[in-house]
Subunit: 138 residues, 4 copies
Amino acid sequence: MKPYKHLVQYYETDKMGITHHSNYIRWMEEARLDFLRQLGFDYVEFEKMGFMSPVISLNNVKYKKPTTVGEIIDITVSIKAYNTVLLTFHYEMFRDGVLVCEGDSEHCFISKEGHMIRLGENRFQDVHHKILELLKKI
Amino acid sequence: MKPYKHLVQYYETDKMGITHHSNYIRWMEEARLDFLRQLGFDYVEFEKMGFMSPVISLNNVKYKKPTTVGEIIDITVSIKAYNTVLLTFHYEMFRDGVLVCEGDSEHCFISKEGHMIRLGENRFQDVHHKILELLKKI
Amino acid sequence: MKPYKHLVQYYETDKMGITHHSNYIRWMEEARLDFLRQLGFDYVEFEKMGFMSPVISLNNVKYKKPTTVGEIIDITVSIKAYNTVLLTFHYEMFRDGVLVCEGDSEHCFISKEGHMIRLGENRFQDVHHKILELLKKI
Amino acid sequence: MKPYKHLVQYYETDKMGITHHSNYIRWMEEARLDFLRQLGFDYVEFEKMGFMSPVISLNNVKYKKPTTVGEIIDITVSIKAYNTVLLTFHYEMFRDGVLVCEGDSEHCFISKEGHMIRLGENRFQDVHHKILELLKKI
């Protein structure tokens, strides 16, 4: 899997002259959707089919080094835990090879009507098996 | 109509130490929804009924003075033009009585299916007449 | 201490029709600055004096219920841990008395030159003692 | 000059399922800094030298078509007016060759102390002449 690249924008900085901490949470989302795309899972299509995958928790988000406008952040995404109902991603963000931020986000899968979905079921078999393969490699 | 009050937030500042200019566009929206609420028109309810009112243009947005975190911005909203299909709002933003920003936003009204709506029609008569009254006072 | 009130804005919603999860991190900041203000500590003045208090970690951020535009969120802030160098806040967010989100943010204190500051020292004695008093009540 | 590419992010959408209009103002900034970089003018370095170029007005911002997450927006930037003190950029945003948004932003140049700068002066000659050359081609 190729790391996702984010170029820090001017509007992402704050009065301290550095990236506002809330933006890293948005970059996690950027990188996660890119990771899923690389895995062959188009999240936008998934929503068109009537499903959603909200974030249900954020954990261990550690801000190691400040970053600022014009810097390129390489974000690697991995799967930390998965049980067909809950999926936890781990993110590591680097600037020139130095870790600047890391963290986890936990997700569930629901239908528009609010019912929980198991990714193991029926039409999500493809992504389910890809996730299992990724987990085997750890 | 009471001016809308916005307390500038830390995350709204940028590297220059002042409010990032894109946020004033968001404050226009905050003030506009508040203005409509004061007029007896709940925009969120309007959307629940299957309608939307997207911004179709921004004009004459003038940044007069910088603002920053902790400052209270008083925003007055008025109706600049209205023809039942298009509605133009004018905004003036003040800090301690000094104009810091002004601008206009133009809106149309559409159904979820993408059809144009005239506010003069049927169930929007109430807000239509309130807008006409406001325009008479100018 | 009075809970901080945030009115959810339209621009804070996303394609799911609910508040985007990154905004809760921003609301924590809104509520934290308000909490400190109530405690007699003006964070903006603190920065003017040449100091900063960046977020160094986020933990246990749990998204319990979705929220959306027009809803009022009451946010209570408390101090979870403090050792003069690190300060951890705990946030609970309610809509009509129902917990919708909670989480922790951890902060340090540094000078513009990047030196760590102890709040126990010299001119921060006031806020230091107020924090100790708050901790005693737990 | 190469058009700037922006991939629409999930967090940039709103409750209507489309990109929130305030984000186009941010994309103008992304594209403008990229345009200046291509011109050999690094805005971040410019600020390090003690100067700033705030937006002083937005005009003729026209939202032609909605866009949404996963779409790639090609943004072309051109210089509409320039008199060494004021610089107006024009932006055109395309999705698959179709114009989705256009607009203008006007900028001045100031020192940190708040003094107006003429780009025609001394050390900004390089960018000044490049802008003049671009204007000749129109």
